[in-house]
């Protein structure tokens, strides 16, 4: 066979059939999945009283370009919040990875959650690993068609509901679902659901670990965040292999003492850790890029150790440094490290900044753009005129009236034509022209002044500094 393998241009994908396992990490993974799924699938159905949009707690309204998140309305101008959020996510990822390795991959990533879900569907319908392997290798018959067909049908159903839920975040959920199944939905909705269903099914149901191995960028760059003190899922080779390597517990090699005497380690080579691994690797070969750090092999090994009566922790979370030391200490999280503290500081700073920014955002956004062509105009009586474009965005949920004044120059020098007071619809913006005329004498003194935009209903004033240009000595 090696000859053939050498000539083959491609590598056949061997589907990984995992054994189920019980244990603390499995319980944790299940808890995370339950929580994540409840949030994801139920959140779009949460009602929330709204004036100017559908009554939905989370609604990303693309047509009016407003994102409703509970009581917060996010406008396209707030795009830098997204940048901050992405930074926070990245810093959090670095921080956690530096401490405990690929925790994101093992417990929280969508790829892991949906793959896990689909593996459990297979388990439910086709049975435990041996039964699934038998089914896989047997010829096609009614049983195989029914069982494989049912598992995939169920996976596609879950994928579809995943897709529909996703779409519900962008549209009022009850009407979207009603129209979707009524056949009266918009084409874009059907298209989105189709594409997302296919993607979910392909990624979670078919490709599975291949996404982590070949497609995911995180998988590749997370390893650079590992340090010698980072906790990672590790096989204790010293203990497991002993002097003469691992071996199965035949007669005379059953108890720990017997094995130590004979020079064999604690690993009884049962292969459970390999069978439960969702990426199909053997953790006993050392830390590998395929390992998503899900901890299932720890559970598997702990169960075996319990059953043969050896202490737990042959496979455990431990650090490279500790493993290499002569007398390993009990593993613990070592956070007093330059990188970890650095990530934490960046994380706290940015989170604080984001909250500060959201907290202090005003209901009105004003920008004043000075007309630069021409910078100033001389009028027939010798006075000077500057022109401005004032853009006001009403970020409240009701129509508002704004009045425009100036501060630092005589109020009579402002000419707003008909727009001294303007009404702006909820969530909309408006640009109005403004002219400021100053006598040649005043113009020579004034370089800066302020526009004052007052929201009539609250009397809240926004001050915007701007310049007045006129020909100057050095010109």
């Amino acid at each position: 066979m090696p000859d053939q393998a050498e000539k083959s241009l491609y590598q056949k994908h061997i589907p990984i059939v995992t054994r189920s396992v019980k244990g603390q990490f499995r319980t944790f993974k299940t808890a995370v999945m339950l929580l994540a799924y409840s949030v994801y699938f139920l959140l779009p159905w949460m009602p929330w009283a709204r004036v100017s949009a559908a009554s939905q707690a989370i609604l990303f309204d693309l047509t009016t370009r407003r994102f409703f998140i509970f009581n917060l309305i996010v406008y396209p101008q707030d795009i830098f919040w997204l940048a901050m959020l992405l930074f926070i996510a990245a810093a959090l990822l670095f921080f956690v990875t530096g401490l405990v390795g690929r925790a994101w991959c093992g417990y929280f990533c969508f790829q892991t959650l949906w793959s896990d879900m689909f593996i459990q569907i297979e388990h439910l319908i086709q049975g435990e690993r041996p039964a699934r392997l038998r089914l896989k290798n047997q010829n096609w018959n009614l049983e195989k068609i029914l069982k494989i067909g049912a598992s995939h049908a169920l996976m596609i159903l879950v994928s579809m509901w995943t897709a529909i839920t996703f779409a519900c975040y962008f549209s009022y959920a009850p009407t979207f679902v009603y129209h979707f199944f009524n056949g009266t939905g918009v084409a874009g909705g059907y298209f989105a659901v189709l594409v997302l269903t296919l993607l979910t099914y392909m990624a979670g149901g078919v490709a599975r670990e291949q996404i982590c191995l070949y497609a995911c960028p995180y998988a590749r760059f997370q390893s650079v965040m590992y340090e010698a003190d980072t906790l990672a899922v590790t096989y204790d080779a010293k203990r497991g292999e002993g002097m003469k390597g691992r071996t199965i517990p035949i007669q005379g090699l059953k108890t720990q003492d017997e094995r130590t005497l004979a020079g064999h380690g604690d690993c009884i080579d049962c292969g459970f850790c390999v069978q439960v691994c969702p990426t199909g690797i053997d953790i006993r070969n050392g830390l590998q890029y395929q390992c998503i750090s899900c901890g299932l092999c720890i559970d598997a090994c702990d169960n075996i150790m319990d059953s043969v009566g050896y202490p737990r922790g042959l496979i455990r979370y431990d650090s490279e440094r500790n493993m290499a030391s002569e007398v390993p200490e009990p593993p613990r999280v070592i956070w007093k490290r330059f990188k970890v503290i650095g990530y934490a500081v960046a994380l706290l700073l940015m989170t604080g900044l984001l909250f500060y920014n959201i907290g202090t955002r005003s209901d009105t956004e004003v920008s004043v753009q000075q007309v630069r062509q021409p910078l100033y105009v001389m009028l027939s009586n010798g006075s000077l005129r500057n022109r401005y474009l004032i853009h006001i965005v009403n970020k409240t949920e009701s129509d508002q009236i704004y009045t425009i004044d100036v501060d630092g120059i005589s109020p009579r020098s402002l000419d707003m034509r008909f727009f001294k007071a303007v009404s702006i619809k909820a969530g909309k913006g408006l640009s109005v022209n403004a002219s400021v005329n100053l006598s040649a004498e005043d113009a020579s003194k004034v370089r800066e002044f302020n526009f004052l935009i007052t929201q009539a209903s609250t009397q809240k004033v926004i001050k915007v500094e701007t310049n007045f240009n006129s020909p100057r000595e050095h010109d």
Partner: protein, 313 residues
């Protein structure tokens, strides 16, 4: 993978650098190879639908009728025709333009149906005028009046100030755009001698408070209002000009043809005015726009010039 129970031997291409740096020769995953083959199939289908292979001066246009684009084009004479072609970037652009025009239409219609004042009072319409007017202005008016409408001395008037040779009301501006203008001033070289030219120029400068010789200006006053030169006939007895014929107001600070503000010394200022009176002026030509723009476009431009540029009366 460990689950296939086979020993994995890593194959290399046999190339070694720096003693131990080797190039692995791992096979690609099968799904990846299939993805690669699918792109070939995609290319074949693409050729049936879209322009693809160049052949001499022409190219394959896909299967006729399979992927057509229909759009409305406006011909040179203003009439519209519907065209259908094979898919290409230009026709797609035309379709997009058609869509944009349709989107603009309600606003254009509103501008056309409302009075000037009502357009100027409607904040949303004014926003439309600001942007649509800017485009119209940029395509048609900018070569003379400059990008911001600020004009150019000795060439085209400033539209952003408050001085209007032909009047600055909506109606005045509209008339100007529709019919164009032609400003002329006769030459006085055969009528006035050099001394008289100097005197009348001093008088003109005195009207707007520019540096001048007061004695000469007094003599110039008489020439201005005298029948030999007859300046007052066009510029008015008060020298404030006449918007009916476009004669300039000589008492304000705005100068178009003689560059008095740009001239640094009193002599240079005098020279500017004198040269103009001596030689006259026949360059104030604004073309007729009625034949090039639609009435609603002229209306939009009128409001733009009046309100967006900010100098209207």
């Amino acid at each position: 993978m460990s689950q296939d129970n086979k020993k994995v031997t890593v194959e290399t291409t046999g190339h070694v650098w720096d003693d131990d740096l080797q190039e692995l020769n791992n096979p690609l995953p099968r799904w990846w190879i299939w993805g690669f083959y699918i792109t070939f199939g995609f290319a074949l289908v693409y050729w049936l639908f879209y322009p693809a292979w160049p052949i001499g001066n022409t190219y394959t246009k896909g299967i006729p009728g399979l992927n057509n684009v229909t759009y409305v084009a406006t011909k040179v004479d203003g009439t519209q025709e519907t065209k259908t072609t094979h898919w290409n970037m230009r026709s797609k652009l035309m379709v997009e333009m058609n869509d944009l025009q349709a989107e603009q239409k309600p606003y254009v219609d509103k501008v056309a149906s409302k009075s000037f004042e009502d357009v100027a009072k409607d904040p949303e319409l004014m926003q439309f005028v600001n942007s649509a007017g800017k485009t119209l202005f940029a395509t048609n008016c900018v070569p003379c009046h400059q990008a911001g409408g600020q004009g150019k001395v000795k060439f085209a008037p400033n539209l952003t100030d408050d001085y209007w040779q032909y009047g600055g009301t909506y109606e005045n501006i509209q008339t100007t755009i529709v019919g164009g203008r032609h400003g002329v001033m006769p030459a006085f070289k055969t009528i006035l001698n050099d001394a008289e030219l100097t005197q009348v120029s001093n008088y003109v400068l005195s009207l707007s408070g520019e540096p001048h010789n007061a004695d000469a200006a007094k003599l110039g006053d008489a020439i201005f209002h005298g029948d030999k030169a007859g300046c007052y006939a066009c510029h008015g007895v008060d020298a404030k000009g006449n918007i009916a014929i476009g004669s300039a107001n000589l008492t304000d600070k705005v100068w178009l043809w003689p560059d008095v503000l740009g001239a640094k010394t009193p002599e240079a200022k005098l020279n500017e005015v004198k040269t103009l009176i001596y030689g006259g002026m026949d360059k104030g030509v604004m073309p007729v726009w009625e034949t090039r723009l639609k009435p609603e476009q002229i209306k939009l431009l009128t409001v733009y010039v009046h309100d967006s540029l900010g100098g209207g009366k």
